[in-house]
Symmetry: C2
Subunit: 231 residues, 2 copies
Amino acid sequence: MLTQTIPSPAVPAAKGFSASRAPATDPFGVVTRCAGVIATEFSYRKEEEIYGEGEPSEYVYQVIRGAVRTYKLLNDGRRQIGAFLLSGDVFGLDPGSTHRLTAEAITDTTVRLVKRRSLEAAAGSDVRVAHQLWTMTAGDLRHAEDHMLLLGRKTALERVATFLLEMDRRLAKAGMMALPMCRRDIGDYLGLTLETVSRALSQLSDEGILVFSSARQIVLRNRQRLADMDA
Amino acid sequence: MLTQTIPSPAVPAAKGFSASRAPATDPFGVVTRCAGVIATEFSYRKEEEIYGEGEPSEYVYQVIRGAVRTYKLLNDGRRQIGAFLLSGDVFGLDPGSTHRLTAEAITDTTVRLVKRRSLEAAAGSDVRVAHQLWTMTAGDLRHAEDHMLLLGRKTALERVATFLLEMDRRLAKAGMMALPMCRRDIGDYLGLTLETVSRALSQLSDEGILVFSSARQIVLRNRQRLADMDA
DNA sequence: CGCCGGATTGATCAGTTTCAAGGCATGTGG
DNA sequence: CCACATGCCTTGAAACTGATCAATCCGGCG
């Protein structure tokens, strides 16, 4: 609501080429290593919109550094965040001609991007690329299916426990996780209010399951008990 | 819980071949018309399990007649239905080697099925098939994204309104819709209890927005007002 | 140092769930 | 053909979880 968004250019300026350097474990690498697929880097400032729901989907993105949220809105402003994208994650790959969620940088973020049409072209001539695109969309679907179970049937505490385990898995470094997003973002991801998220985190802290270095710097002390309450 | 399920044979008996007869508008047709892809028919009785979460995904299915629900369970039995599959719908296409949701027949149901491996093979040699598989998974993802917004942020009345519009679109015949599923199924799809679903339907009936012929036979009288409250 | 946005905590409120009772339709067996 | 059992649905009342409203608190930064 209060995002002082700076419009991004229709065609991001090229800052360099990074094709043919991705490791074999990088799912996006299969794609960016293809002849005819040019990867470009671009940066967005904190709170900047990357693309909007309903816009033509011209590019596909991979987070190099930073964090991104994708979300849908209802008319009155209620927001559901579909995913947080962190280093290495691919987003914007919506088959169909338009984006179905809005994407915004949570922090200052650098992405690698490729033209969607060049991906489609590569997929049309190389079945491995086609298979890779399918696999990436299938990964998003798997996440969405798990998240529907969370949103439809888990309690507030269970949702927060699930969230912590997911973030621990995806961004913990040296046993510590540094959350890039605020409590409101977490709430809008989990279908809760920011106050309920805060209360659940405080309760987990009281129970000794986690320790705060600061509000967004968290160390998990007992993953097993978190997994147990995750239902 | 009380499903008197009859185990289906590991390899369903062939009852006929229906390849090369699907109309051009049928998304599954692109696939079943392929050389080497054999479509078979099979029937399941009401409440019968078609496949279970975690089982190897050996087949991909298309509903010919009847209705199917897919769902996930928490340890204590809480259930989230991910989708209702109706005539023409394809399901069971989970990339990865295992099914991520359980599928059950809601009513007596007939499906067309093809071996997953033959699909993969066709996709490996024909990019149109590969593209079609991607498109089908992308359709599932779109539905899941919309449903996350519903589960995370809509009120009970809004959820039921959305549900009615979805079912009206997908199964209304002559202005009337005959719901194949019970109130508990609807609740488990919408993240509500069966009582809350019933109360919302009663309220919509009181307001003249819909009329019941019977509990599951519904005529929508005012789609616009439903769409308005759908948020 | 003081401002400001984000986070925490408290008190009350509201929507949904839970528990409970009863109605209605269907089908089965006497 | 009727009686009754059964499953599904509706409705009511009470309980509860999470939301809302409100008041600090805290940390970073100008």
